[in-house]
Point group: D2
Chain length 337, copies 4
């Protein structure tokens, strides 16, 4: 941690900072520059010392040297983490594709979706039973009935079930039916929920919040890892920016950036990331070219009658084309898909 | 709702859209323009018809005419809502000021904070007992012990207690001690939590999420209102933008904008909104000039030893000056403070 | 154009709006809804009528139906535009790669850069002679001397020269040496400059401004097209968002989005788009998978001694690897590169 | 400047960095931490050394200690700069208000605007003669004829004329008529233009670009100051964020932030900052409460017939009310207005 003292700080101020740093159990090292004095604090423990020092009056700014996350970092575990649920393998050169409707709507809808996405090559089935909706007046999901339908679709197809859990007291229920627990973007910093899924042995698919930084994203993963659950998959699903021609902005540089810093696998959600069905196939291919370990894609047998997210859902045909495009890129780059 | 058909849509496509709209119980009205045909759908019910139509192939875009929120709107209730807890009055020309430390740290800290902010004119005491922290390694709050200390501070000073509740199963516990339940920015779209506080009779202080739009903010309030709890106070606390010289960007135009659209009172949090103590006093005054019904300000007896948010906490002296500045503006504009 | 009247507008207000619209030479069409009345204005000419009507007191909002750009649109010209300078072909299935240093620094540097990027497969040579620098104290470029060195590099290698022009009175000078005139992101809305390059017969590479919307970007292109110069290449180079781990956020969905709306070719700049050399190769491959018609990449023989943009410049070896990766994707998807 | 070496950098790498820093004429100071080694470079000259070092392979990041601007900083000149043109005084406790239409449209329009804004207390007259318009099909201004009308309005009222100059070769012409040269937001980084206005003796009103950081804004001012022109007024006019309910987001914390760092006066433009006339008066008052040295406000005798920016223009009556509100705040806080 580097503490930059304000211009004009005198020796006494610098000495106070040194004592302060030492009282925190760190070693202080003073560097007198021409216009500023800085004090390096050695032994930084990544747990909030920065904020404390920043509030001292003589301090201009405090610059952390270490990343704030630990267990998620490549330094802690250099080899990549891979996860597997039934035939869905994510990471380590295997690209896992999860597809299905935004919401589970009926038995027929989910069974036909499952059959279609399986035929095109998906290994995981997505579908919301508990739906976080911006408006209280929108369809909120079929709840446990939806979970049962997902399980039935798994029985019929062998696809792994990926579905969202919204609140800690549903974790036990959802875990009974799901192979992968999804934490939605709105809940990325719902810490009680993160701890609750961390206590299960289930794979957790953690979506990036639409205004989360990389540090916040990895620290959210750290809440799960810290409970002893090492099976976390990160999901880039787009961020909120000034752009309005797409629903969110999908920043694919997240993929190689995270791969340098964390051992956790990363999948991309081009459906939420763009919000427009016609943009999804090229962004699937681009995600794989960027190095993604998987995709999660909204597919609906009849998007124009979907109860949610119709505008960004692919028809089964369009999904098959997206898979074809993506597979060409995967093969060219030596990935298994 | 206005459905804009794609360029080149033929009569059959337009007719399909008309049938579609009518099957939703709406009236369709076709307008043939020079380059585009649009179909107006009359009778819009604000509950998701838009998404459905947007996914139809021949549709270029769908433009909603009505705002998606109802109960929160000025149209539903033209007169402003006011809330009161002990001497803390917010709305209807009364500016209520809530102040105190980020976290409750000790009996001495919270009692001295309470005495100081009361002396300067605050009527509410803020202080976190359950703390949502970005890192699992940071101080997470004193929990129930913190709530007891807040209640003790209320007993000693008469200040109303404002504190955060983070998860549905804590609502009952926190309600036993708090006068106002705060929903933090990270939880603005934690719908189970919103419903749970909606079921209490407590005043709810709802913080805007850092990337929430106005519609999302008002719809989050609507989740509370929809449970029958009409006592919701909106809080602008800054949004995430490309600016890095402040912790967040504080968009004060939120205040007059919301006042035109909703009857709910609105308070401003310049501490989180800027993240820098020296910017807080002018932004307090500016918030009041913009029409805010209240302020929520972080004050700590010794910011450089605070366990969280020290950099943005005012000393008691600085808070007294901020209050003085704010009161001058309030008086000049005819508000009670 | 759809004019949404404020709630409670009476017949007289609606009638005033109808007259207003008719006085603009448009046809008005009134639709009385349950909560709002809207007036459709038929015959919209894309030139500012919207702003005028929005300022009328009884108007809640005005929704344009048509995109504001004309000549750039696919409706105006369905077949894709392709450009060619020497062997650099961009568009129509040909992926053109432009590479080279941020700034021209010396004869040796630009000649060796040119030889290296040509060997790896680039067909265009980039290099700044006039440099727009954030600080007046930074290196501002070799100016005409730099242009001469670029021309010498073209003579030696056959690469097409792509270089920036910053101000209208340099257009004639830069045109004498360059094959492609680059308009930098900071100048995307420098309208006199756009008009000046529009008056030349040169290919124009127009970079997206870091906070430009798609409409603004295409309207900037329209300033060039409007002067009769049809050879405009659009360049996505990243936008400014809250993300700080990369220099800018590179939104690759721009590529398929623009391809649906405009006939102009689009290239991607992953060097500025990420600002980090190690992220450039995967983002090159991703750009091609997303459908880009070309790449523009910073390559320097010795990045750690570059006079500008070293952190995002590839070494010649890294560039060769990026090309290899990109070519695999291009071949798999059937592009010529 | 603090150079953070990558984890695992060996002594040789550190030694190479030390030599590198010394070869730049700086002093190097090595600090060996537990997980990272950092090298402090003493003698930083604010001119690009950072970028150079950041591109070295063993470097994780480089943290600058000094702000990149010099002449604009409070350290260079502690006392505030004030400017005056006729009766328009900005800075040093005087709040200067500039008002008028977006564009000069006709003699009658500009003369009546001038009379009205003067009556309400403005001391400067704004009005565009050369208009930078997003679309080439929009009204581009009356050009020199507009400048003549502005001069006539000054003759009639004594108001100082503030008008935009868009390109270097117009500087001489516009300077003949204007008292204050405005640089528009789109041109904040048009460096040739900044240098050209820096060469005049005129006051320069420099608008912040909608995605400019504080450092970029002050460095743009530095381009003007560096030519010897010390009369620069900074103008916050709103930034581009994800918010769509206002045209831009107006971050008033810019005002106290800049006042801590620069001696230059700062004015606020709530018209562009919000884009909605009804939000302008409260934001005028808020800007003054935040410490602004002036306001620039769009006022039109008949906004619904304005040729540009009607939606954000105040009527003369609304402007008089905004002035009244603002004056109350100014008086309460001890400013002259």
């Amino acid at each position: 941690m580097i503490v930059v003292m304000k211009s004009g700080s005198d020796d006494a101020a610098v000495q106070r900072m040194v004592s302060r740093i030492e009282s925190m159990g760190l070693k202080a090292h003073v560097i007198v520059g021409i216009e500023r004095t800085v004090v390096a604090a050695i032994g930084e423990k990544r747990n909030g010392e920065r904020q404390t020092l920043e509030s001292c009056e003589e301090v201009e700014k405090v610059v952390p040297i270490l990343a704030p996350y630990k267990v998620a970092s490549r330094e802690a575990k250099p080899e990549p983490t891979t996860v597997q649920a039934l035939d869905l393998k994510i990471g380590g050169g295997s690209i896992g594709v999860i597809a299905g409707p935004c919401s589970v709507e009926s038995e027929e809808q989910i069974l036909s979706s499952a059959a279609e996405v399986k035929a095109a090559g998906a290994k995981g089935l997505r579908g919301g039973a508990f739906k976080p909706r911006t408006s209280p007046y929108s369809f909120q999901g079929l709840k446990e009935e939806g979970l049962k339908l997902l399980a039935a679709a798994r029985d019929a197809t062998g696809l792994a079930v990926v579905t969202e859990v919204m609140t800690p007291h549903h974790v036990e229920l959802v875990s009974r039916y799901a192979d992968v627990l999804q934490i939605g973007a709105r809940n990325m910093q719902n810490y009680h929920l993160l701890q609750a899924v961390g206590e299960t042995g289930k794979i957790v698919l953690l979506k990036r919040g639409p205004c989360a930084t990389m540090d916040e994203f990895l620290l959210a993963a750290e809440y799960v890892l810290d409970q002893g659950n090492q099976q976390v998959v990160l999901c880039e699903r787009g961020i909120r920016t000034f752009e309005t021609h797409t629903r969110f902005t999908l920043p694919l540089a997240t993929v190689p950036y995270l791969k340098e810093r964390t051992h956790l696998p990363i999948v991309v959600d081009p459906s939420h990331g763009t919000g427009i069905a016609s943009l999804v196939p090229p962004m699937c291919a681009a995600a794989i070219a960027a190095g993604a370990d998987g995709l999660i894609v909204e597919v609906h047998p009849d998007p124009s009658n979907a109860m949610s997210d119709g505008a960004q859902s692919l028809t089964p045909d369009a999904f098959a084309q997206a898979m074809d495009l993506s597979r060409k890129v995967a093969v060219a780059l030596g990935y298994e898909m």
